[in-house]
Subunit: 345 residues, 2 copies
Amino acid sequence: MEPPASPRRVTIVDVARHAQVSTTAVSKVLRNAYGASPEMRAKVRRAIEELGYRPLAAARGLRGRTYTIGVMLPDIRNPFFPEILDGVTGCLADTDYQVLLGPGCNGEKEEARVTEAMIDRGMDGLVLVAPVSPRARLEHVASVVPTVVIGRHSHSPKYDSVADDDVAGAALVVGHLAALGHRRIAHIEHHETDPTRIAEMPNAQRADGYRQAMRDLGLHEGIDVVSTSYTQQGGYEGAKELLARRPRPTAIFAGADIVAMGVLEAVSEAGLSVPGDLSVAGYDNTTFAALGQISLTSVDQAGREIGRNAARLLLERIEDRGKTSVQVKLSPTLVARRTTARPAG
Amino acid sequence: MEPPASPRRVTIVDVARHAQVSTTAVSKVLRNAYGASPEMRAKVRRAIEELGYRPLAAARGLRGRTYTIGVMLPDIRNPFFPEILDGVTGCLADTDYQVLLGPGCNGEKEEARVTEAMIDRGMDGLVLVAPVSPRARLEHVASVVPTVVIGRHSHSPKYDSVADDDVAGAALVVGHLAALGHRRIAHIEHHETDPTRIAEMPNAQRADGYRQAMRDLGLHEGIDVVSTSYTQQGGYEGAKELLARRPRPTAIFAGADIVAMGVLEAVSEAGLSVPGDLSVAGYDNTTFAALGQISLTSVDQAGREIGRNAARLLLERIEDRGKTSVQVKLSPTLVARRTTARPAG
């Protein structure tokens, strides 16, 4: 599957000679390392342009690097993930790294398949977004290729991790709804049975944070959790169940904006109004939440910031595979919009 | 970047011996080719399972195949593309092919970068979704690796193509709005200046179909096109411009659902109601359009069907690189919902 025969390929040596700098300098610019001055960068970029040098193709010859980063996404429909991806690609914009996505990895088997494919394709590093695989599996991947894990609340010496403080985020939602006067605040969570995942996954942490905040506010009698999935369908089904309760909850905290989309659908189908009959809050503060028609109260976990941090840590780890592992935890904020208000009556 | 040393890798020969079939038979099952009976498939699958054979990793040894398919997507935020992707992965579900996505390729340079990365990574075939590159570039890619192009109205002997009849789709929208009594029907298009793209891109075909349908219905005086982009922001800006017109259009046909999202935002910001003050229609019939809160009239171009066809053609082309190129054109349908109604007055 090689490109057709072509004139001799331009190498990093040609670029260095043309730019009148060392090959080390060219390599530094290519991988966007510290210690390359703006002038140096400009010089090397010009030489690359003029010679038509293609680092992507030539990379295999250069210390085995392919300048490809694999990002594994559980669900391409969840509007939160493009935010993370924007952060990753933003951080890589001035480098020669190309991102390739592994989509639809919402199971251990699918995750194994896509990470193996990425390793087999020789990718330089992986960003795993909210993986469900056991920690041992993540550590195995990380031992083969530099890896950053997003959204798992686990610390490993093998990989770096970036996560939002999901317990704090859930507390923000419960606090907001309680301050408005709600007592029967229900939660729709993503179903989880595996003990490691219950400890590490963002969805489990949010459900935990919800329960904790309800108790802290003396609302333990109002605790009501429905277990479905972090999908639109999951939100729809969860809301149908909650709307059949007597008495009905006066507010629903959906674990993700995409779940809230399904909740809004079920509420509208039942002929109820938001926030008149029911307040609804989400999590992720996606562009969907910000949409005028929807105007969904949501938790902003700064997806771009998460993605940017992950990419930065990954570049550092590619440079130094033995580096000490780092855990970045970001603090979420609440964005109150029109789907939450005082309860009726 | 090789996995760590491990016991001797299981090969296709081991699988064949274990299943008591020929290696050709195993290979047929692996690539889901015609001529492998269900019994044969079951036998080979069992042997693969029992031996822990990893075709993805072993693939390089097998006629150079990597069992990886690259799908290039212009924009990961556009909710239409997951539909196409579902069709592609659905068709590949019973094969050993893994899909890797190249996201955010909304320019010639980005497209060159991602297709080169995919070729360099040894992918067996590419699906290019609505690429903007010149035909010569697409043909170059197709000469290196089996390629199917989605959404370009061009015929090439080098690649297969799958597209929706965008002219017919636009005519469905205009016809629907005109039947409701609208005369001043405006259109928001994705700006295009390149002559090839004007002839081949779906967005240009939709704008063309709109103009043609307006003329056919005697509404040429109502033709009003604003050129922005197929993004939420593009819809927002386009609608702001149209809402400032005196007289205002009574209906806006947005070239894509994601554009309609921006239109709805601008309309709500202006304190106007849909469909009371303005009817709005989109294109793509995404899950967003179907959402109760939105209930957007839209054109269904059967994204899954498009994706399924593309994957099927690609598998055929991977089997037989010299095959005659095929063009599949699908007929869209209109899904009328609550954002379109008779004009006021």
